[in-house]
């Protein structure tokens, strides 16, 4: 159903009825509002607070199915009209970008000066605001950190109707609380991100990706350890593991190297030596781009639940052995795509709900080798059976106290996030 044109408005911003396409895990928002300015967005939040209406913030909806199944949603605050690059100070390697801009559009604009925001977009329409609020990350994290590591300033709309800034326009700045980073992982439950300023990077000159195929998980251990302890400096270093329910797993290590031409050749040689007997493929240009486009967004294109999982890199071999065993025992297909040296990535679980639930429970019980297991995408049945966020620990009281300070009326987030 197409969006209805109406003349309704809230706090000066146009309002339309919620449509089936706006549904979040089966919950249809009563209305959708599209503010065009920071002040308009803040006015909507103030009005929602005054009238006790629950608000979910949306960029382009790439991750609308993440997190808990929402409580009833009165207003969907759609940020897609606020989608400009407000400034690109290329001499300073910084840019200020509105929350509704997509990473893909932003990087197309920044490339004019040979720069980029080095953040993976697992989804074609992943926005700046959504990526920050969901703390999403991909393979580039190995060198550049996550979007939280790149944000240097933020403008927020708060539930009291204020437009608030924290941080600044400069990379080095320790004045005041760093609210841009705090909002990372907040899932729209503290405030609406209106725009953010980022530290950029020069686009890498030349890069090559080496993909090594291993015979089972045990042959990966040695090379992985050698590379992590070496002085080779990859731009990305990813694992890709598929464990089908009824056949042997495939285990791959993807290492992307980027450097000056002469140095690149030396690093490729050093890396090949460390990979030992694994069968190795070297790709550049479009093939390389395709490889990464399969590695990061790939799992999301295939069916099944998707978990965000972190683990101790030293336990990688053991993790893969367990995944293989669990896939066989529970009759599910498992696909892990993650950062080998950091121990973080996504695990796709394709199988019946009961199998998904068992995988989550087994992984969560395996401490301390496994860090956090969050359910991003799964059926409503799974998400109502198991808390998508799991046990958050003692920090929960702090997160709640801050929620109370940001949003005393409790209108933001509809319970999708941790608080």
């Amino acid at each position: 159903m197409a969006a209805q044109e109406t003349t309704a408005s809230i706090a000066g911003s146009p309002l339309r009825d919620g449509a089936p396409a706006d549904e979040i895990q089966g919950v249809r928002p009563a209305a959708v509002v599209l503010p065009g300015t920071p002040e308009a967005a803040a006015a909507v939040l103030a009005e929602a607070t005054r009238t006790h209406r629950s608000v979910v913030i949306r960029g382009r909806g790439s991750r609308h199915d993440w997190g808990r199944v929402p409580q009833p949603i009165d207003l969907l605050l759609d940020m897609s009209l606020m989608n400009r690059v407000l400034s690109h100070e290329y001499g300073d390697l910084t840019a200020t970008i509105e929350a509704g801009a997509t990473i893909t559009e932003v990087n197309a604009a920044l490339s004019r000066y040979g720069q980029w925001l080095p953040v993976d977009a697992a989804f074609a329409h992943a926005t700046i605001g959504g990526t920050l609020a969901s703390a999403d990350s991909g393979a580039l994290r190995h060198r550049f950190g996550t979007i939280r590591d790149l944000v240097i300033g933020v403008t927020l709309a708060t539930t009291d109707g204020a437009v608030v800034r924290a941080g600044g326009q400069v990379v080095k700045n320790v004045a005041g609380y760093d609210l841009g980073k705090l909002l990372s992982g907040s899932f729209g439950s503290y405030a609406a991100i209106l725009s953010a300023t980022f530290k950029l990077a020069p686009r890498p000159g030349r890069s090559t990706t080496i993909t090594a195929e291993f015979e089972g998980e045990s042959s990966l251990d040695g090379p992985l350890r050698r590379i992590m302890a070496s002085q080779v400096e990859p731009m990305a270093m990813d694992l890709h593991v598929t464990c089908p329910a009824s056949s042997s797993p495939s285990v791959r290590l993807l290492v992307r190297l980027a450097s000056t031409p002469g140095a690149l050749a030396a690093q490729v040689d050093a890396l090949r030596r460390m990979l030992g007997s694994a069968s190795v493929l070297e790709e550049t240009g479009e093939r390389e781009a395709d490889r990464w486009n399969e590695q990061v967004p790939g799992p999301w294109r295939r069916p099944g639940a998707v978990l965000r999982v972190s683990w101790r890199p030293s336990a990688t071999g053991e993790l893969l052995a367990r995944l293989r065993a669990m896939a066989a025992d529970d009759g599910v297909t498992l696909e892990l795509a993650g950062r080998a040296a950091i121990g973080a990535g996504v695990l796709r679980v394709d199988g019946p709900d009961a199998g998904v639930a068992r995988i989550v429970e087994q992984l969560r019980a395996w401490s301390p080798a496994i860090g956090a297991v969050s359910i991003l995408r799964a059926s409503i049945a799974v998400k109502t059976h198991i808390d998508p966020w799991g046990e958050v620990g003692s920090s929960l009281s702090v997160a709640r106290a801050l929620k109370q300070a940001f949003d005393p009326a409790g209108v933001l987030g509809a319970g999708r996030g941790v608080v």
Partner: protein, 482 residues
């Protein structure tokens, strides 16, 4: 501070770990911002996290303000006590708790120094990246409070990029763990709020950091220029070609003269010297360093010297890192400012500082992290000359106005603390400060945890003139107004 409070505090930490004799308390009246002083009511040195929790609860019960203290090297008065308040000195929290090379983690207590972390793993080829100039003395707990950087933060970032988890005693006395040794702890990034919060949200008692593999090659280039502008042009061109150096530092003639007098690094005589450091794989560093040297020559460098070995490199860095302290060789007193401008605005702001130097009559030396626009003007004065100390402070304040006016910050790495709380409103609106204060109050409703720091208050900053109202401490007989 009542006798009952002191007795209970003594019961918690044991008599040898409580200081209340007036002459011994003087040691704790300030940190490295020496002009901001307050004598505390007492100093305690707890020996366990449980003791810290008990002390915080005791302070809450008796409404006594408190501040945690590491090694007291902070430059913004972040560890200055509240008058008559309690100093919780974490001196006994100085152990390295665990090293996990396979997972690139190390867990330490807050009074381990920054350099001790690197020293512990250096022989195995690892290091901790943030390297403030005071790294041999400053505590990692203080680094967490201030989100310390260092010369190499241009490439490697700040404390917030290298600390993955902390244990913190909240102002309620509860102990929480923020972050985790593994990645992607769910929920808002509370750890990032705490790092750089200047001790206003709690007391950190354990810190887990990420350690990095030492780069294969580290090369340092020392170059000299006839003008600061020419050196600035070289910096812009280096960054413009897409090279991300590990560090780019600039010093002007006065700063070079001071460094020479103090530690004799053998810097060339010039209007400006530029130190550029590259690190990474050997072949990459070789290729890029040749390019950097060419850029410097084209920009008019009068001398280009590539460090020949580690000793030579250490000598160059010693000259740079000693620059602040060395000012004492050329001036009886000096005031260090810490402002930031977008790198491209450096020439305008330096020109303004030059004009200010001439107008004020106070010599100003400049040492700065040119790669990220972090200025450290050193304002020379003589406190024996009537009015010069005040003039120096006014000059320092005016430089901050230039920084904020250029779109920069009032502090790049030293923190706001007591020193710049009144300058916060130059950078942030009342709405910004109200929200930050609300978050602080959410965790510390009694405002006892390092009070009167970071945020401007009408009482201290005088923006809201009103009738005199006694501070609760004055009412309680715990402090008085001077």
């Amino acid at each position: 501070m009542t006798d009952e409070f002191l007795r209970e505090a003594r019961d918690i930490v044991g008599a040898p770990h409580l200081i209340s004799e007036p002459e011994r308390l003087l040691t704790y009246e300030c940190d490295a911002l020496v002009h901001e002083r307050q004598v505390p009511g007492a100093v305690v040195m707890p020996g366990s996290t449980a003791e810290v929790q008990a002390l915080v609860r005791l302070c809450r019960q008796h409404r006594v303000p408190y501040v945690a203290r590491g090694h007291g090297t902070g430059l913004s008065g972040g560890a200055t006590p509240a008058a008559g308040g309690l100093v919780i000195a974490l001196t006994r929290f100085a152990r390295i708790v665990g090293v996990d090379l396979a997972n690139q983690r190390m867990t330490v207590e807050p009074c381990v120094t920054n350099l001790q972390i690197t020293q512990r793993v250096a022989r195995d080829g690892w290091y901790y990246a943030p390297d403030p100039s005071s790294q041999s003395a400053c505590s990692i707990g203080g680094n967490v409070a201030e989100n310390s950087g260092g010369a190499h933060c241009l490439k490697y970032g700040f404390t917030v990029h290298h600390v993955v988890a902390v244990d913190m005693v909240l102002p309620s006395g509860d102990l929480v763990t923020l972050g985790a040794a593994t990645a992607d702890h769910p929920g808002p990034d509370l750890l990032a709020l705490v790092i750089g919060s200047e001790g206003t949200l709690g007391i950190v008692t354990s810190i887990t950091v990420r350690i990095l593999r030492q780069p294969e090659a580290v090369d340092t280039l020392l170059t000299a220029f006839d003008s600061i502008d020419a050196a600035g042009t070289a910096v812009s061109r280096i960054i413009g070609t897409g090279i991300v150096p590990a560090a780019i530092e600039m010093m002007d003639r006065l700063a070079v003269r001071a460094a020479e007098a103090a530690v004799h690094p053998g810097f060339p005589v010039a209007e400006a010297i530029l130190i550029v450091e590259l690190d990474g794989p050997r072949a990459e560093v070789d290729e890029l360093m040749a390019e950097v040297a060419d850029i410097c020559r084209v920009a008019g460098a009068t001398a280009v010297h590539r460090a020949q070995n580690n000793d030579d490199r250490a000598r160059i860095w010693q000259g740079r890192k000693a620059a602040f302290a060395a000012m004492g060789r050329v001036s009886p007193n000096y005031y260090v400012q810490d402002g930031v401008v977008p790198r491209t605005r450096l020439p305008d702001v330096l020109a303004k500082i030059k004009t200010l130097e001439l107008r004020s009559g106070l010599p100003i030396g400049n040492v700065f992290h040119a790669g990220d626009g972090n200025l450290h003007p050193l304002i020379c004065y003589d406190e024996r000359v009537a009015g010069q100390a005040d003039l120096a402070e006014a000059v320092a304040g005016e430089i901050l106005d230039y920084c904020v006016g250029a779109g920069g910050s009032i502090t790049g790495e030293h923190g706001v603390g007591a020193d710049k709380r009144c300058a916060m409103s130059k950078m942030f609106s009342p709405a910004d400060l109200t929200l930050m204060t609300r978050l602080r109050d959410a965790l510390d409703p009694d405002r006892l945890c390092n009070p009167d720091k970071l945020f401007p208050t009408p009482r201290l900053c005088g923006e809201v003139p009103g009738p005199y109202r006694p501070h609760p401490l004055e009412q309680a007989g715990m402090g008085e107004r001077f």
